[in-house]
Amino acid sequence: MVFYVAGILLVLIGMYAVLTKKNIIKIVIGLSIIDSGINLLLIAIGYVKDATAPIFSNETLKAADMVDPVPQALVLTAIVIGFGVTAVALALVIRLYDNHKTLNINKIRKLKW
């Protein structure tokens, strides 16, 4: 249960950073914190008490005492997608900085809320 709380808290912290911060780099960091929180939540859904990783590295391991492999496989995909999103976002930030010479979104016109 503590993993659910931690995952949801990470998502909320990331959303808070995205909503309130003025620095674009901090907003991108917030996005990647949301990513980590969601990945942690997905892994926590697949958790089984006292179970090990789903790798049959020796004969004594039985399928009955292993965690769910499906969320882990999906999270691997999600990490890669999150990485791609972060990389493209950082590239856009570099372009914005080149054009406006500032990272503060209040100083960049047409980007206010």
Binding site: S57, V70, I94
Partner: protein, 226 residues
Amino acid sequence: MRKVIAVLLLGIVGYYIFSSFLEIPFGENRATIGDYYLENSVEQTGSVNTITSIIVSYRGFDTLGEVTVLFLASTGLAAILFDNRGRKRRRQHASLIVRIGAHLIYPLIILLGAYVFIHGHLTPGGGFQGGAIMATGVLLMFMSYRSFEVNHKWLTYLESFAGITFVTIGLSGLIWGDSFLANVLPLGVPNELFSAGIIPIIYIAVGIKVGAELTGLLDNLLKTIK
């Protein structure tokens, strides 16, 4: 004022997410699809790492899409930063200790990355993780030496070669097997390096592709001054 509004909104969002997660039992039984994979994956794919068999074999087409997304990300980034060609990294030379240390560790990190993706069907790890480890090795060199350059032409060749290998193996499954990415090679004995048919070959291709892509991407991101 804005912070108060943000906290209130997040409180509402968090309450609803959490109350829906309370319905999901924590740490109890698995979903039925997970049971199926755990019981059948070793006989059906020959890979002892169930996650690898899901990613490369059962959901191999999805992984091809994932690799495509990564390729699109690196292409898009290069398109956004296209006039960074010929620019230099802002970073100055690091101190002597860092430089010598980086030079010593760099080949070992590349070796560790290769180990991780070659043993992707036996140990925790795989193509994406191994490729990322290799890229961190190159990043260490980027941060220590201002003059360290990678050859983008060779990176493109490596990347294309790995991608073509993936698709060719998938098409060979269509020719000799019964579906795209069908496992046409002998499965061998589980828990040995040469087992699991096409899974290690695909994971090596994915590892090389991810490593080359991440290296090119880091190089593009770090070159900011003329």
